[in-house]
Symmetry: C2
Subunit: 167 residues, 2 copies
DNA sequence: TCTTTCTTTCAGTAATAACTGAAATAATAG
DNA sequence: CTATTATTTCAGTTATTACTGAAAGAAAGA
C-alpha cells in the first residue's frame, strides 16, 4: 500500500497534480471503504489542514464522494473504484479546465492573426491547424466517452483491428 | 503569436512540463523555419542558458531536430509541424518515462501484497485491478499508435460509430 | 596555434508551489 | 445556551523547481 500511495503521489506531480491530493486519492481508492480525514492524517502523516484541502480538491473533481455515517458527525470520504469511471472523470475534468480554455485561446489567436497583416500566412495556417486538430480530438472524445463501459472494453480488446472498419 | 506561445507555456506547467520548454517548443512550431538559440533568446526574453537547456530537453523528446545550415556554424533547430506526429511523440515519451515505471511499481506492489498475509484480499484485488487496467490501456495504445496517419484520421471521423464494429 | 564564436555547465538566486499550525468558523450534543 | 468536536481558512514557513549570469568547454576560422 505504501509503495502504491507514494508512487501515485510522485506520478501526480509529474502530471501537474498536487502530491498530497494524489496520495489521498490513492489511499481512498485502496482502502475501498469510507475514511475520515483523521484516519488519512494518521496514515499519510500530513497536516490536517492539508488533508482538508486535498479532499476538497478531490470533491471538485468528482473523484471522491462524501459518505455520511449514521450516528457519526465526522465526514467520511469514499473514492470511486471503477477504473473506467475514474479515468473518464479525470479526462473530463482536464478537458473542462484546460482544453476548453485552450480552444478559446486558439480562436482568439486566429482572430488576432487574421486582423494583423504583419503575420505571415504560414503562421496563420499553423495556428488554425492546431485549432482544427484540438477541435477534432475533442469532438472524438465527446463521442467516445458517451459509449457504454462494455463497448469501450470491447473496442480496447480489438486494438488495431478497429482499422478493419475504415477499409 | 505571443498569445499562443504564452498560453502554451502556461499549459505546459499544468501538465508537468517546464514553462520555458513549452514556450520554446511553441515558438519553433509557429516559426516553421529553423531558428538559432539567440533568435529564441531575443523573442522570448529568457536567458541563453535557459534556452540551451530547453532545447536539449526538447531534443531528448524528439520534438525538435537540429538543422545544420551550410556556411553557418550556429545550431539551428526546427520543430515537427505534423500534429499527429507531435501528439504521438509526446504520448510515446510519457509512456516510456512514466507509464512503464508505473507498471514496474504495480508489479512490485502486487508481489509485496501477495507475500504479506496482513494485506486484506480486497486491497490486493484493487492493486491488481489497476495493474490490469494500465496493461490493457498500454497494449491498446501500442496497437493503435502503429496505425497509419490516414487510418487514424478516418477513425476519428467515425467517432462513436466505431461501436458498430463490436455489435 | 591563437582568436573568435557558439554552446553547455553549474553555483547561486528568484519564483512558485506546497505544507503547517494556529485561529476562526461551523455543526451537533447536552 | 454552552461545551465539545469537526472542519476550514490563512499567514507564515519550508521545499521545490525554474532561471540567471559567469565561467568553462567545444568547435571552427585566421
Amino acid at each position: 500500500m505504501e509503495r502504491f500511495v507514494l508512487h501515485w503521489g510522485e506520478m501526480g506531480s509529474r502530471w501537474g497534480v498536487n502530491r498530497s491530493v494524489a496520495q489521498v486519492h490513492a489511499l481512498l481508492y485502496l482502502a475501498g471503504r469510507p475514511l475520515t480525514a483523521d484516519e488519512i492524517v494518521e496514515t499519510l502523516g500530513i497536516a490536517r489542514s492539508n488533508v482538508s484541502t486535498s479532499l476538497r480538491e478531490l470533491l471538485s473533481w468528482d473523484l471522491i464522494v462524501q459518505h455520511p455515517l449514521l450516528g457519526d458527525r465526522r465526514d467520511y470520504f469514499r473514492a470511486e473504484t471503477d477504473l473506467w469511471t475514474v479515468l473518464l472523470t479525470i479526462v473530463e475534468g482536464r478537458k473542462r479546465r484546460e482544453i476548453d480554455p485552450t480552444l478559446t485561446m486558439l480562436r482568439l489567436a486566429k482572430l488576432d492573426a487574421a486582423g494583423d497583416e504583419e503575420t505571415p500566412e504560414d503562421i496563420k495556417r499553423r495556428i488554425e491547424d492546431v485549432l482544427n486538430f484540438v477541435e477534432k480530438l475533442t469532438a472524438w472524445y465527446e463521442q467516445v466517452s458517451s459509449l457504454s463501459r462494455s463497448t469501450l472494453i470491447k473496442l480496447m480488446k480489438l486494438g488495431a483491428k478497429v482499422s478493419a472498419l475504415v477499409k
